[in-house]
Symmetry: C2
């Protein structure tokens, strides 16, 4: 009996989203800061609004980050569960929220 060949479309999408230094920095910043609105991210990265929106959408579509709307503000945060399912412990430690780092994890 042969193992069924997995379909990699979904992973392609997720890795594409991660395949950009700017987006990795966004992910890292979201971990460090938790829920952050677009305007703050704009300041942090000194990047135009539409460009930032574009990159956030790619991460969002890959389900690596989450969005919460409050009035006119949109707050983004890391989707830690999804990241943990995808990346190694070592890497998850980079993309793990500050408050969770000191805990009972084997790594970090």
């Amino acid at each position: 009996m042969e193992a069924v060949k997995p379909t990699f479309q979904l992973y392609e999408k997720k890795f594409k989203a991660l395949a950009d230094e700017k987006r990795l920095e966004i992910m890292y910043e979201l971990c460090q800061r938790g829920k952050t609105c677009v305007c703050d991210l704009m300041e942090i990265f000194g990047v135009s609004q539409s460009k930032l929106s574009y990159h956030l959408k790619i991460l969002l579509d890959a389900n690596l980050i989450e969005k919460e709307t409050k009035g006119t503000w949109n707050y983004y945060d890391i989707n830690e569960k999804e990241v943990n399912n995808l990346l190694s412990e070592e890497l998850c430690c980079i993309f793990r929220k500050v408050e969770n780092k000191a805990g009972n994890n084997s790594c970090c």
Copy 2:
């Protein structure tokens, strides 16, 4: 004291290499078969020689696979250590050599 911001260039490169369904399939096939020469991969994927070479080079440059030359043949294989350092256990199981799957791993 603030955490030093990691540089993500290296990860960008690795994720770029993974951000392609064809290359993920190559990785999977290498796990299933172990050391495999380019000509066999050409048959398996029904893809042109130069195209395959191109994709193998990207994976090789990202250090996700390894190359061994014997005469005119080049054999490629997964770089399991590197993959384990990068990806979650769940994903490593997809990209783990058949002979290592039945063992004492917590997953698979």
